[in-house]
Subunit: 306 residues, 2 copies
Amino acid sequence: VRVALGTGDGAILRRADDGTPRDRGLEGVVARITELAKAVIGDDHDRVAAVAMGAAGPLDPKAGVLYDPPNLVPGVVPLGPLLKTSLQLPVFLENDANVAAMGEWRFGGHGKTDNLFYITVSTGVGAGIIADGRLIQGFNATAGEIGHTVIDPNGPVCNCGAHGCVEAFCSGPSIARAARALLAEDGNSLLLDLAGGTIEAVNARTVAEAARRGDPIAVRVFHEAGDKLGIALVNVIHLLSPEIIVVGGGVSQNGELLLEPVRQRIQNTAMKLPARGVQLVTAGLRQDSGLVGALALAIDRSNSSQ
Amino acid sequence: VRVALGTGDGAILRRADDGTPRDRGLEGVVARITELAKAVIGDDHDRVAAVAMGAAGPLDPKAGVLYDPPNLVPGVVPLGPLLKTSLQLPVFLENDANVAAMGEWRFGGHGKTDNLFYITVSTGVGAGIIADGRLIQGFNATAGEIGHTVIDPNGPVCNCGAHGCVEAFCSGPSIARAARALLAEDGNSLLLDLAGGTIEAVNARTVAEAARRGDPIAVRVFHEAGDKLGIALVNVIHLLSPEIIVVGGGVSQNGELLLEPVRQRIQNTAMKLPARGVQLVTAGLRQDSGLVGALALAIDRSNSSQ
């Protein structure tokens, strides 16, 4: 749980974080968030306009309800209403990728645009869509699930059960899995040394490190992941015509190692007019896209609910 | 060229159509459209609020300009400004799939929704996106190019040069091509009889007719096209969370022959929450989605430009 107190221009004044308690149920989670929030609010309760929060997994932003949130508690979790009571402030809940998209849009340093697509490549792959000047939520408020768009029906099986989803190619665990599969065929690799000689210890970080040092297996795996991410983004360029594509999440911190094959794929496959002027950049706010995005969301929602 | 005079509630009062003159350049095209428009306007010029038109191919709706329009004239074509002068009325130009989406959204009989995805499956495959209550245009005003989203990088080559675009699987010509390829392997088919014994004469219509009569090759080809269309729509469900998916265009007039495998694919591959309550239907206005959509567009644009 990460919380911050901030201003309408995206500046963070105070911040705090702590682990999510796993053994005290929903009550424990609400208590922990409340405690952290009160710590950063301090004596400024009367000056706080609203609380906005991003959360992983499926949710209903209108009701402030999470559905079977990962790493929390099972079932329908009315986190918004509970925090509204405990904090005595308006609380707005939104998908974490959407919140990060808001942060990068308003405060990511990418200039003024009405069309920004934020994609996070991490343990999972998700996205937040700003189209024609607004965050897109869709009918079930699930818009942005790019991780589960299919780009190769003969591709590897994804966590969702489908074959060839973007996430099955590009997420950190998928990159590690692809590298382990190649290592099992040809164990003679710097990558294996970096993982202490154990194939099972290979993760996306060791693959990235080995790729930077020129290890052929690692280079190949990252190129393949970037190429598939490129296909996903060609599809986004064609379907949504974004001006700025922001890539965030842990895997994106490898910079051009991931983005170079993405650029190549876009250059080779996207049509001229939809791709005209499209910029591909990494997240300006890095790990804080979501935290700063919550500030943007709080401002937006409290303005539109007045 | 098809034109109509209509009212704010989507009723068509008068209509006219004629071929696009191919031998008299831009001047001839403008003259033909003007003539047809004046014919339906008649004595009602003073009561007409605006002219809206849909056109194929890349265009700039703000400037009213077409870029290398297919079947018209090459280059940058300022059709909007030219018609504004010849008709002495405000003229709004928009991509044809977007105009059809507006028609189905406002007057297609699908009920009230803020999230409708219109896809046309015809000689090409395109789409118009209504998300959170608005038509999405995007940065280059090219949003909706679903025909050129890649769903299988090892798939057949598309007109755009990429491999495995939706259009390369699902368009009328692609369906015909797939059937011809199978016929070349196994010529013993009702489909061949329907095409008068000549493989080259097989088109999407003959494939559909043969499939309705149970011809195995034709059934297989339509199932494959529907399945691939289903993958494209799974991706749309995940990326945009539409409530209503409207399938229009010539190929959609085969109804469940096309839609049944689409439904199966969505059922098997889409995630539960994004797919919750999604309806898949054919165009309520059939061939008139665009014509009626132009009425909706004229109202929208003249309201927002006041």
